[in-house]
């Protein structure tokens, strides 16, 4: 069994399932938002929609899904291309750096997103 400490769920199955579930949530969210936009909204209606708790929860769920989805996907990409096998020890350094940068960006987006959702 191959172990990896930086993947999200410790097991390949968990990551795989997470990737699928978050994809469905994101699809539902963007379809819904897309429909609303296509239906034509003005600023008050848009603000009204996002003031409702269920919409905030839905948005937060989509945001968290985006974070998890991106982490699982990028983790797979980094462990494919930034590896010791391909570029020696540099690979390990680059991979950890890339993962740290991604983690920071996602964390920032999530905190910032919560602030936006509940801040207005």
């Amino acid at each position: 069994m191959v172990t990896a400490v930086t993947n999200l769920g410790r097991s390949g199955l968990y990551d795989w399932l997470m990737q699928r579930v978050t994809a469905v949530i994101l699809l539902a969210y963007f379809l819904y938002v897309g429909c609303v936009l296509l239906g034509g909204v003005d600023y008050p209606a848009w603000k009204e929609l996002h003031a409702q708790t269920w919409m905030r929860v839905f948005s937060l769920l989509a945001l968290l899904s985006l974070g998890a989805h991106a982490w699982v996907g990028l983790w797979a990409i980094f462990t494919d291309y930034l590896t010791e096998r391909l570029m020696g020890t540099t690979g390990n350094v680059l991979r950890l750096a890339a993962q740290a940068v991604c983690a920071l960006i996602m964390f920032t987006y999530i905190v910032w997103g919560i602030q936006i959702l509940w801040g207005y």
């Binding site: 069994m1 191959v2 172990t3 990896a4 993947n7 097991s11 390949g12 199955l13 990551d15 795989w16 399932l17 797979a76 462990t79 494919d80 291309y81 590896t83 096998r85 391909l86």
Partner: protein, 234 residues
């Protein structure tokens, strides 16, 4: 005249690999690629490749022909040559020993990992362990693999992680024993596969299915393994 471009590398004399152009007179016949290789070898004995059965049974002569992996002995020129040029390279992703001969150790190491033999510690019956026709049918499309490595060396996930991703060939064999009703080690087998690399590096690109000279479908077997892991966990 057929234009053949061959990957040549002899670590004892060459600093790096190079492509050698050779003209081959096929006599206007639709030869198999292996026949062309034999013609070349008859004039240049230093040209190295593996072959044995020359009928698609042993799996020795997996090579990359015009960019596609396959068995040279059962690939007719008409199938691979578009125009008048044939480019022969070793199977991608594995270390080259010499010319078209690759070092298959990593491929076999993955095969070994799946413990490709029947495990059953219950006392054997007097004659043999029986299966129903339906149970036996589940092994069709799995047991025929000849371990030619055409699939695993066509798989990008295997190129990047040949030490951690088992690869289509090994996973097809893993499922061959997971699907066998006589094998009792299912749980242990699954437990060994549930990490982020062994199975889940497969992204369903299906290069493996495209090249398998035996017409097998590793992607489907991988899907079955994933479902078994899923139902085991939920």
């Amino acid at each position: 005249m057929l234009q053949v471009s061959i990957y040549r590398y002899n670590p004892e004399t060459d600093n790096e690999p190079y492509m050698q152009d050779v003209q081959v007179d096929t006599g206007g016949k639709d030869l198999m690629v292996l026949d062309v290789m034999e013609l070349i070898k008859s004039t240049d004995t230093t040209f190295a490749y593996r072959r044995s059965c020359r009928e698609g049974v042993c799996g020795s002569d997996g090579v990359n022909m015009n960019g596609v992996n396959g068995l040279a002995c059962i690939t007719p020129l008409s199938e691979t040559v578009k125009g008048s040029k044939l480019v022969l390279r070793p199977l991608p992703g594995l270390p080259v020993v010499r010319d078209l001969v690759v070092d298959m150790s990593m491929f076999y190491a993955q095969y070994e990992k799946v413990q490709p033999y029947l495990q059953n510690n219950t006392p054997p019956p007097a004659i043999e362990r029986l299966q129903s026709l339906e149970e036996r049918e589940k092994l069709d499309g799995l047991y025929e693999c000849i371990l030619c490595a055409c699939c695993s060396t066509a798989c990008p996930s295997f190129w990047w992680n040949p030490d951690r991703f088992i690869g289509p060939s090994g996973l097809l064999q893993a499922y061959r024993f997971l699907a066998d009703t006589r094998d009792t080690a299912t749980e242990e087998r699954l437990a060994r596969l549930d990490d982020p690399f062994s199975v889940f590096r497969c992204h369903g690109i299906m290069n493996c299915v495209n090249v398998c000279p035996k017409g097998l479908n590793p992607t489907k077997a991988i899907g079955h393994i994933r479902n078994m892991l899923l139902s085991r966990a939920t």
